[in-house]
Symmetry: C2
C-alpha cells in the first residue's frame, strides 16, 4: 500500500447550491403521472406525501441551481466537505497506468452519503411545521441517516425496515434507535398494505417496495406526517449533487479530469450525485467523460430492465415514474448489498440511459466482495457491499488500461463504509456466498404481468 | 443539535516529531526492571521482545522530540490531521456556559486512535527486517489497527484475542481478517501460557493479561518475530502525542486554551496522547490545566489501585513496571468497554498520578452509556463504550460549570466510534447492563497476594 493522497476542501467550499441537471438535458425526462388519474402529476398532488419544498424540487425542470438553506449547510459542516483520495495503493496492487480517485462519502457520522438528502428533507418538513415523518429502509443506511437528521430538527420518525434486514442487520436498527427513531419490521400490522401481506403470506420476509408502501400509508393516515425517501426521486438526486460538485473542485486541485465516473446503483442517488455535475460538461461538448452505473447482477434494472412507466412501491401508492424497471413486484435475490435491491431507476437516470448518455454494468456478488477485499487491504477502508460494486467496476476499467496501456483517469464514489456489514464479509470469507443472475426472459415475463394501464 | 464547528488542519501540519514528556517531568518515572534479574532494564533486554527502535524509544528519558519517519507520516495522511470539534450541540443540551471541544480520533479507517502507534511499531519492525509480528487485543480496536499497519508494510500478523471478545465481538475479528491477519482466541493451545491455562481451567474465557503472555511467548519462540502492543508502554504513549500536538494547534485556531483535558483510561495510550502536549505547559508554570483520566468503576487502577512494581501480563513475561495497579492477576467485570479492562497504568501516568499532577475519576457503566446516548443524539457520532467514559466526565464538568456559572473550556478525546459496538448499545437500551464496583478491600487483598519479590 503506497501513500494515498487526499484532496481536502475547507468548510466554506461546501456548495451553496445543488445542481439540477434537468434544464441541461438534451432530452427531458417524461413527466411523472398521478397514480390515480394517470394524468401528468401536478405539484399539489405531491403535497399530501412530501413537504411542499421537496414537492416543488421534484417537479422543477427549469432552475439549474437550487440554493442550499443555511441550516442545511450548517449541518453539512459536521463532516463535509468529504475527502477526494488518489488511490495509489490500489493502483500499485493492480499495476495499472490508470489514475484512480475516489470520493470518500463514508466519512459521514452514519457512514454513507445518505445524510446529504436526509438533512434537507427533514429540514423542509420542520420548516413547514410538520411534526412526524416516516420512511422505509433496506440495509438501513438511509434509515440511520434520516434518524440523525430527524433528531437534529426535533421530528418524530418511524422507519419501516425490510424484515429480513431487521433481523440480519440488527446493528443498523440499533443505530436508528440510538438516535431516537422508532423502527418497525416490515411487513407490519400498523398499515393497510402490511396487514394485507401478513394476512395473505404470514412468512413474507419483506421487500423495499412493500416497506415504501407501508411508510406512505402511515404518512397518509397520520396527522401532520410526511413521507421521505432515500433514492429514486429527482429531489433526492438533486441533494446528492454536493458529492460531484465538491469532487469537481477537488479533481481540479489534483490537476486532472475524469475520463470515467462510476457509482454503484440502487435507485440512483449516489450515482446521480457523483455524475450529474460532471455530465453537464458532456452536454456542452466540452468533455467526453464516460459514466458507468454499477448495479448488482441480481437486480439489473439498467442492463436488463425495460423502459416503462412503473410504480416506485409494491402497492402502487407512489406516482408513476418513467423508469428502467424490472417491475415493481420484482423480488431480487437476497444479496448482501441490500441498498441495491430495488426494482427501478429514477426518471432522470432512466432517460439518460435510454439516450445512451450513460453506461451500466452488472457486477456478480462474488466479484464485488473480491474487489472490496483488495480495496480494504490496499486503501485501508472496508467498503460497504453496495460501494464495492463501484470498486469492482473501477478495477475492471483499471485492468483494461493495463491491457491497452492507456493512462485513463477513473473516479468512483465510495458511498459508504462496511463496518456494520462484517457479517456479510464473514460469509464471503467462509465461502458461503453465491452469485445470482437474472435473465432477459425473467424480466420480460415479470414486466408482462405488470398490467399498468396508462 | 446546533451546528458543530470543526477546526481542521492541512496535511502538512501533521506533527514532524512526537513529544516525549519524560525529560520535562518534575519527578522522573522509576525505571523498568528486568523481570528475571529484577535489575534496571537495559535496552538490550528489550531487543528479543520489541524492535530495536521501539526498545530505544521505551527507555529514552532525554530527547524531548523524536522524529516521525517520513513513511509513518505518509501513512498518517490517510486520515490525519483529525478534526477538533466544538460540541455546540452537546453544550446546548446541557445548557452549560462551558465550551466543550473534542478531538475526533474516530475518523481513522479502523475507527480509533490505535492506528497512531500501530503504524510506527509495524514500520520499525519492517525496517529492521522482521517478517512476523504478534500482539494481543481485547475489544479488538488495537488488533484492527495493527492488522491494517501490518498489511501496509507486508508483515505477517498473529493476534491473540481475548476469548470472550472473540465470540462477543465477532465483527472486529472479521475486520482483522479482512486486512489479512490471523486471529486466535486466547487462551489457545499455540503457546505455553495458553496451554497451561486451558489444561488447568478448560472454561476460562480469557483476559488481556493472558493474551499478552501468549503473544509474548509466540514472539519469543518464533524466528524473526517481534511483539507489539497497543498501550501501557512509554513508546506507545509517545506515538499517541500526535493527538495532543494537533489539538494544541487547533485550540489556538479556536482562540481558546483548555482548562480541563479528559481522556478515557485503559492502559493510558489515548489519555497520554491528548494530555502530554498540554501538560508540559503546566510544568513550566505557564498554564494550570486540569487533566482527568476517566476509568471504569469496575477497573479503577488510578482511583483505587496501589503504586507498586507489577508485571504488564498475567504470566510475568513483561518487564516490571512501576504502576498504579490492581494486580496483574486482577480479573475485571465483563463491562462492554473492553479496551479499559486492564489492571495497570503505564509508568509515566502512574508517576504523574502519584505526584498529583493529574486527576482520575471512575465512571459507572450505566453513566457511560447514558452519556454516549446524549452525545450521539446531540453531536451525531455514536461513541465507543471506552470513549463514553471521557464523555461522561466532560458532562460532569460541564454540569458543574452550570452550577457555578463558570465558563470553563473542556477538551476531551473521542478515541473511537462505536459502530462495531451496537450489540452493547442494544443491551443498554434493553436494560440488561449493570454497574460494577471494586472496593478498596478487594484491591488490597489482591495486591497482597501478588508476592512480587524485588
Amino acid at each position: 500500500m503506497k501513500e494515498s493522497k487526499k484532496f481536502l476542501l475547507p468548510e466554506n467550499e461546501i456548495p451553496e447550491a445543488w445542481y439540477n441537471v434537468i434544464p441541461d438535458m438534451p432530452v427531458k425526462p417524461m413527466p411523472l403521472l398521478n397514480p390515480v388519474t394517470k394524468k401528468e402529476l401536478q405539484v399539489e398532488d405531491l403535497y399530501p406525501l412530501l413537504s411542499e419544498e421537496a414537492s416543488k424540487q421534484e417537479l422543477n425542470t427549469t432552475d439549474r441551481w437550487i440554493e442550499i438553506p443555511e441550516e442545511v449547510r450548517d449541518m453539512y459542516k459536521i463532516w463535509r466537505p468529504t475527502p477526494l483520495v488518489r488511490a495509489r495503493g490500489l493502483e500499485q496492487v493492480l499495476d495499472t497506468p490508470a489514475h484512480i480517485y475516489f470520493k470518500n462519502e463514508s466519512t459521514s457520522p452514519v457512514g454513507s452519503h445518505k445524510l446529504n438528502s436526509a438533512i434537507p428533507q427533514a429540514y423542509y418538513c420542520k420548516k413547514q411545521g410538520i411534526t412526524n415523518i416516516t420512511t422505509e429502509t433496506g440495509a438501513g443506511q438511509w434509515g440511520c441517516a434520516l434518524a440523525l437528521a430527524a433528531k437534529h430538527f426535533g421530528l418524530a420518525l418511524a422507519v419501516y425496515m425490510v424484515k429480513v434486514s431487521y433481523y440480519q442487520k440488527p446493528y443498523r436498527r440499533s443505530i436508528m434507535q440510538a438516535y431516537g427513531a422508532e423502527v418497525i419490521a416490515s411487513p407490519s400490522m400498523s398499515t393497510r398494505p402490511g396487514r394485507r401481506m401478513i394476512t395473505e403470506n404470514p412468512n413474507y420476509q419483506g421487500s423495499l417496495g412493500l416497506a415504501i408502501s407501508e411508510a406512505v400509508d402511515l404518512a397518509h393516515t397520520t396527522s401532520n406526517c410526511k413521507y421521505t425517501l432515500g433514492s429514486v426521486f429527482n429531489h433526492v438526486a438533486l441533494h446528492q449533487t454536493v458529492i460531484g460538485l465538491e469532487a469537481e473542485k477537488q479533481m481540479a486541485m489534483a490537476e486532472e479530469y475524469p475520463d470515467i465516473v462510476i457509482g454503484c446503483f440502487g435507485g440512483g442517488s449516489n450515482f446521480s450525485g457523483i455524475s450529474f455535475p460532471f455530465i453537464r460538461h458532456n452536454f456542452t461538448g466540452e468533455r467526453k467523460t464516460r459514466f458507468i452505473a454499477a448495479e448488482p447482477a441480481s437486480c439489473p434494472k439498467l442492463t436488463r430492465g425495460i423502459f416503462h412507466y412503473d410504480y416506485g412501491d409494491e402497492a402502487g401508492y407512489t406516482p408513476l415514474i418513467p423508469m428502467c424497471t424490472l417491475g415493481h413486484n420484482f423480488s431480487p435475490a437476497n444479496i448482501h448489498a441490500g441498498g441495491l435491491r430495488y426494482h427501478g431507476a429514477g426518471a432522470v437516470v432512466s432517460q439518460l440511459k435510454k439516450d445512451n448518455l450513460i453506461d451500466a454494468v452488472d457486477i456478480p456478488q462474488l466479484e464485488a466482495f473480491e474487489a472490496a477485499t483488495v480495496f480494504a487491504q490496499s486503501e485501508g477502508i472496508i467498503p460497504a457491499p453496495e460501494s464495492s460494486h463501484a470498486i469492482a467496476t473501477a478495477i475492471r476499467e483499471a485492468k483494461a488500461c493495463k491491457e491497452s496501456g492507456e493512462k485513463k483517469v477513473i473516479l468512483f464514489n465510495l458511498s459508504g463504509h462496511g463496518l456494520i456489514d462484517m457479517a456479510s464479509y464473514d460469509r464471503y470469507f467462509a465461502g458461503d456466498l453465491a452469485n445470482y443472475e437474472v435473465t432477459d426472459e425473467e424480466v420480460r415475463a415479470n414486466i408482462a404481468n405488470l398490467n399498468i394501464d396508462l
